[in-house]
């Protein structure tokens, strides 16, 4: 597979930047030279299969893990040495939150309200009720889904400049999920909140993101504007007798049992689809989910 790597120009003002991040676990490479930057006010969707390293990358970008090499920056500070004031402008919802489990949701919110200058107590209170969470129950006694919902509310109530959500969709039913996406959309517009969220529910991402990044086999295969993706990538199908004429550069290529060939291609500099003039060629537009399957299968 020929990887197409798109690297945005790294703007100094970007609230979150990863530069040449490599990560190894016990001698095994899990992230390979990742460059990713979130422009202010952008909503970046990070997709990839389970185990692709999405959570590891997020934790490195937040300075929670030291990468084997490379550097992460948040609000133009080194992520590993983030100042307290930077931390109050940042909210992170891990996949399995476990902090402050000996408190109830209500107690946790009262406690956190002291540290966050923009804490929105009304939002926290109202959303707990709407999302049907018992505010008086110990966090440790909540189900994992409920626990993550509390954490999403906590993150939103702090009104962060940078919001990072790791697989938030798993804990939410469709109505609450839509509500979260609306919050993301309006905050990005009103307050210029920068958002990074990972999900394998691709339809959520397609709706609200401005940018999309695909992590596969330790590398970023795609990193571009969502609209660019839709307009510049397609699936090229070639019949068996002409499969040998397939263009050299493709994001993925998948041979069919009958000798046919299916490739994910990108428009060339002149806006043409490479290989489109091969006899029998078919060009199909590609949704994110199709792309995901083409590459991962």
């Amino acid at each position: 597979m020929n990887a197409v790597l798109r690297t945005d120009e790294i703007a100094a003002a970007a609230p979150m930047v990863a530069r040449d991040i490599c990560q190894e676990f016990e001698g095994r490479r899990v992230l390979d030279r990742i460059n990713l930057s979130l422009p202010a006010g952008s909503v970046l969707g990070l997709i990839g299969r389970n185990g692709a390293g999405k959570s590891t990358l997020i934790r490195i970008m937040l300075g929670l893990i030291q990468p084997t090499s490379g550097m992460a920056r948040v609000f133009d500070e080194e992520a590993l040495k983030l100042s307290d004031s930077a931390k109050t402008r940042l909210a992170y919802v891990p996949q399995k939150p476990d902090a402050l489990a000996w408190l109830t949701a209500e107690q946790m919110f009262d406690f956190l309200a002291r540290f966050y200058p923009r804490w929105d107590a009304k939002f926290a209170h109202d959303t707990l009720r709407r999302w049907q969470i018992d505010a008086g129950k110990l966090l440790a006694k909540l189900s994992p889904g409920e626990r993550q919902r509390v954490d999403i509310i906590r993150a939103l109530a702090s009104q962060p400049d940078l919001l990072v959500l790791d697989e938030p969709a798993a804990a939410l039913d469709p109505v609450a999920r839509r509500e979260l996406l609306r919050e993301i959309a309006t905050r990005a517009g009103d307050a210029g909140t920068t958002v990074l969220f990972s999900s394998h529910i691709v339809s959520d991402l397609e709706r609200v993101v401005s940018h999309v990044a695909l992590l596969h086999n330790d590398r970023l295969l795609l990193n571009c504007l969502m609209d660019t993706f839709r307009e510049n990538y397609a699936r090229l199908w070639l019949p068996g007798e002409h499969a040998s004429l397939a263009p050299k550069h493709a994001m993925s290529r998948r041979p069919g049992k009958d000798g046919s060939m299916s490739l994910v291609i990108e428009r060339d500099a002149g806006g043409r689809w490479p290989g489109a003039d091969i006899p029998g060629a078919r060009i199909d537009t590609l949704g994110l989910e199709d792309l995901f399957v083409e590459i991962a299968e």
Partner: protein
């Protein structure tokens, strides 16, 4: 016809999984609604914030769509009010103009019919049935 003063964001339909970018889905729908007379000159469009919030889509996408529709002359920016349907679109478009809006769908239909080796007559018959003739 009832003239809506403040159009609701629900007048637009968004299909996030469609191959067509969301900003183009919005422009396309505005074209159709205006050509079909459902939207008339001077009508106020929902704000970017309303559309983004209602459909849970990125506000930049909505801004981009409105900007393109403005450049196309479909919409006009009114200071302090927001976007309104351009006055030149007070009258509904001619039949030819409206038909031209179906061009992409008709081309796709024609291509698929050829791929399936269906005779034109059979396709037209089915289409007439769908159109309720």
């Amino acid at each position: 016809m009832i003239v809506l003063i403040h159009m609701d964001a629900s007048i637009l339909t968004i299909q996030p999984a469609a191959a067509e970018p969301i900003y183009r889905q919005i422009v396309e729908q505005l074209r159709r609604l205006i050509a079909g007379g459902q939207l008339v000159g001077g009508e106020l469009l929902p704000s970017v914030r309303d559309v983004a919030g209602f459909h849970a889509i990125n506000p930049m996408t909505v801004s981009r769509a409105y900007g393109l529709a403005e450049a196309e002359g479909l919409l006009e920016r009114q200071r302090g009010k927001g976007m309104v349907v351009a006055a030149m679109h007070k009258n509904t478009h001619s039949r030819t103009q409206r038909l031209s809006l179906l061009e992409p769908q008709l081309s796709a239909l024609a291509q698929q019919a050829r791929e399936l080796e269906l005779p034109a007559e059979a396709v037209l018959q089915q289409l007439k049935k769908l159109l309720g003739e």
